[in-house]
């Protein structure tokens, strides 16, 4: 297992290099139009001296290969450069924003796990019952509702209307306020962010569990006289969970990459909106630094998901001979 983990970590190096090379190619003249200096200085004209000064400061006059070499050398030292637009260190900006995105993503994944898996299990073991129909219908609705619309509806109901009606209410947006701690602020954005994936998780869980329940070893377990609950939790769930865990792992990775709509609607200061702005503004240091960190995090999450398979299914073992 340790050899496997080390090998997976070493595999991150070529991926990291590949990502940085692609991003640098995008910066090459003629690939993605837009002069970053012009984006820094805005609509009103600036003097040529200042223009040249900015070009020199960020080393934009050097050949791309030299810029790449210097960039890599700095990254190894933990320096991701300064944002063109904000003048602040990229590491500071990312360290401000990334933890917020991670908090939101983890809260959403917890909701997906709790409600998605529970709804899927209930729906499978009580097939064709009222609860199964309710789960099937509500997951269909959730999948079809646009995230920003659901977000605004939740804000209107639980933030605005509940307050007007004198009921306990939730904050409309933001990450902290005088009245509420972050844990309360996270509820609505996390529910919104989790909505679609919870529905998918429930559907995957339901179909997997139904498939597993129909297999011989489950019938054998039942024939041995084990209780239904024990058969489901001890035998069926472990196998049925693997696709759900794969889905949740991928989903967590996607959410770490940023969730622009949820962050925008709930004014959540996360990495997604920051990256979105940076791309439009040709703020390469943020785009590069953000992408590198996100790629590394996603790879670590994928590794953890792969490791979790071994715990879910004892037949899965990662060893040198299996590679």
């Amino acid at each position: 297992m340790i050899a496997y983990i080390v090998r997976r970590i070493l595999q991150m190096i070529p991926v990291f290099l590949g990502v940085t090379v692609i991003l640098f190619i995008l910066r090459a003249p003629g690939i993605l139009p837009g002069d970053p200096v012009r984006m820094i200085t805005g609509e009103k004209a600036i003097s040529e001296t200042l223009y040249n000064q900015i070009v020199k400061k960020y080393g934009l006059d050097e050949p791309l290969v030299v810029q790449y070499g210097k960039y890599l050398a700095n990254v190894v030292r933990g320096d991701l450069g300064d944002s063109y637009q904000k003048g602040r260190a990229v590491t500071d900006i990312l360290m401000d924003k990334l933890p917020n995105t991670i908090k939101l993503a983890i809260a959403a994944i917890i909701i997906e796990m709790l409600f998605g898996i529970a709804a899927g299990v209930i729906s499978a073991i009580k097939r064709y019952s009222f609860w199964d129909i309710l789960v099937t219908l509500s997951t269909s609705v959730l999948v079809s509702i646009p995230v920003f619309w659901l977000g605004m509806l939740l804000q209107l109901v639980f933030g605005v209307k509940f307050k007007q009606w004198g009921l306990p209410y939730l904050p409309v947006s933001g990450m902290k306020s005088a009245q509420f701690p972050t844990a309360i602020h996270i509820i609505l954005p996390a529910v919104t962010l989790a909505s679609v994936s919870t529905a998918y998780a429930a559907r995957i869980m339901r179909s997997q569990l139904l498939e597993v329940i129909g297999q011989d070893y489950i019938r054998t377990a039942m024939a041995k006289g084990l209780t239904y609950r024990r058969v489901i939790s001890g035998h069926a769930m472990k196998n049925a969970l693997i696709p759900v865990v794969t889905f949740l792992g991928l989903d967590l990775g996607a959410m770490i990459g940023g969730t622009i709509l949820t962050e925008t609607v709930f004014n959540w200061p996360g990495i997604g909106y920051e990256m979105f702005l940076a791309i439009g503004q040709r703020d390469w240091p943020i785009v590069m630094g953000g992408t590198i960190i996100i790629v590394l995090l996603v790879m670590v999450i994928n590794l953890l998901v792969d490791i979790s398979y071994a715990f879910l299914d004892p037949r899965i073992r990662y060893g040198r001979h299996e590679a």
Binding site: G34, G42, T49, I54, D96, G159, Y169, V265, N267
Partner: protein, 554 residues
């Protein structure tokens, strides 16, 4: 509880939730609004309370680079420049300088500072602090994008080139006298120094930790920073009790930072914001619900929607060096073909006012219908098109109209395209994203292209000189008229206000005859204030004098 009861209870809860959500969604779609928060309070100013003000994430709140409206809003609360433009009175009033004068040709200006003014660290504000702040802006090491404000000051170019470390023209005669010598006479310079970013900064605070200063600047204004800027969340300022002028009534102002107008509007509805932007498409409904302010700039209970015109203009450039568009009659014809009112009504829901010239109302010396060809007259457009050598558009090649995508520009351009077709001109639209668009403007790779211009100071010169002086870097239409150049420079030297305004009006008319650009519309505020705020005015420059605001007693 039996399992049956539990099941019933659960079903009931689910149904109740679904009904509640549906009821709220339905009521939200069609509700008749209430003005909702507290009732009107006493009219005498009362102290206390915090004002919640919606802004977008500023680029900078350090005046060394204070440029866009969001950062300027904060800088305006935390700092005082030499003078302040009182838009109610339509004139400059003392701020950090209690009086000021210029020499005969307006090339040397003397400002006498208020001796009671202090920075928030307790130190007195001196003339040297202005000199330091302005040199900080002009020093290329600081990469300030607003150094152009000081381009008239003697020694500016030497500092920009890096051959001087001081602004030769700025002299602290003594602690409370600042003398500014200009490179050329400029009678409107007093308006330039009223820009919020040309305020003094305390050298000791900047040099102690420049990065910390950028996050929590120390100023001389009526409010001081309560804590460092929480990026993408808020900027909190509190009353500065040692302020030399009218002390603020408010305990503080929370500048709450939002990415999205819709979210901010919901926060307003929840009673968490006092001043917000009206989301697009909702102006009429919001105006009906909260009442429109009669003057468009001040908020009163029941008259809370601000729709006053701003001093900023949306216009279309002609590339006057283009082989086809160098024909002045063709440019006039195109300008006359555009139905500006239809654009304002259909694309902007009445949130814009049709332009009648490049100088918007609200600027000193503004005259209505100043540009002869800035109106909708398809018949005259057709005549001029024929005069230009293209009767009914025959023989005229297709013209390209460039724009940056998003923000409704596509819709404006589509209407213009249709207007041009009506008189026989074929146009194609060339929309690209902003970064690429700026490249095109700089390299002149366009025939027609849109832009906006926001005034830094409420003077005609701020529109005419940057946009039409032949050597100005902001003259994207490449317009060149030696008489206009000469008259613009001459107007800058006239110290008598009325005579100067007349001179600018004349040159404005001349530029209009050449139609180097097409003024399309003037922006309007589209803001909404809560019914608990009093004494609040959001002027046509988009600035609020927050020291005069108070919260009504409940």
């Amino acid at each position: 509880m039996s399992s049956m009861n539990k099941r019933h209870m659960l079903v009931f809860l689910v149904l109740a939730l679904v009904l509640a959500v549906t009821a709220v969604a339905v009521s939200a779609c069609g509700e008749e609004g209430t003005t909702g928060t507290t009732g009107a309070g006493g009219e005498k100013p009362v102290k206390g309370g915090t004002f919640s003000f919606y802004i977008g994430e500023p680029a900078f709140i350090d005046p060394v680079n204070g440029q866009e409206s969001e950062g300027i809003q904060v800088i305006n609360a935390v700092f005082d420049s030499l003078l302040f433009f009182d838009s109610k009175a339509g004139k400059l009033v003392p701020a950090a300088a209690e009086k000021w004068e210029a020499n005969a040709d307006a090339s040397v200006w003397t400002f006498h500072l208020n001796k009671d003014a202090k920075f928030h660290n307790g130190r007195k504000v001196t003339a040297a602090d202005f000199k330091y702040a302005w040199e900080r802006i002009c020093n290329p090491v600081n990469e300030s994008e607003i150094s152009y404000h000081l381009s008239a000051v003697k020694g500016f170019q030497a500092m920009q080139d890096g051959t001087a470390t001081e602004l030769e023209g700025v002299k602290a005669v003594d602690d409370y006298t600042l003398e500014v010598t200009l490179e050329y006479p400029f009678a409107d310079f007093e308006f330039v120094v009223s820009h919020p970013s040309l305020c003094p900064v305390p050298k000791e605070e900047v040099e102690k930790d420049p990065k910390a200063f950028a996050e929590k600047p120390v100023g001389n204004g009526p409010f001081m920073m309560a804590e460092p800027w929480a990026h993408d969340q808020y900027i909190k300022v509190v009353r500065f009790d040692d302020y030399y002028g009218q002390k603020a009534y408010l305990d503080g102002v929370d500048f709450k930072i939002f990415k999205d107008d819709e979210t901010a509007f919901l926060e307003f509805k929840a009673g968490n914001l006092d001043f917000t932007v009206i989301p697009s498409g909702q102006v009429k409904a919001v105006a009906a619900e909260y009442g429109e302010s009669p003057d468009g700039y001040t908020v009163e209970p029941g008259k809370q929607v601000l729709l006053g015109p701003e001093v900023s203009i949306y216009y279309i450039l002609f590339n006057t060096k283009d082989d086809v568009l160098k024909n002045v009659d063709l440019r006039r014809a195109i300008s006359l073909a555009i139905n500006r009112q239809a654009i304002c009504d259909t694309v902007y829901e009445g949130m814009r006012v049709p332009a009648t010239g490049i100088v918007p109302s609200g600027i000193l010396g503004y005259l209505d219908n100043q540009w002869a060809y800035c109106k909708y007259d398809p018949a005259q457009a057709k005549e001029l098109l024929a005069k230009a050598g293209y009767p009914d558009g025959q023989g005229l090649p297709e013209i390209s109209i460039g724009f940056n995508t998003g923000r409704g520009h596509e819709d404006v351009m589509a209407l213009i395209q249709a207007n041009l077709k009506d008189i026989g001109i074929q146009a194609k639209l060339d929309g690209v994203e902003w970064a690429q668009y700026l490249d095109k403007l700089d390299t002149g790779e366009f025939q027609m292209a849109r832009l906006g211009w926001l005034a830094d100071y409420p003077i005609m010169d701020n529109f005419l000189y940057p946009l039409f002086y032949s050597k100005s870097a902001d003259n994207h239409s490449f317009y060149e008229n030696p008489t206009v150049d000469e008259k613009l420079l001459a107007a800058r030297k006239i110290t008598d206000v009325d005579a100067r305004i007349k001179a600018y009006q004349e040159v404005d008319r001349m530029i209009g005859e050449d139609a180097p650009v097409i003024p399309v519309n003037v922006y309007r505020h589209g803001r909404l204030g809560s019914d608990r705020i009093r004494g609040f005015m959001f002027d046509n420059m988009g600035l609020a004098d927050l020291a005069s605001v108070w919260i009504a007693a409940k």
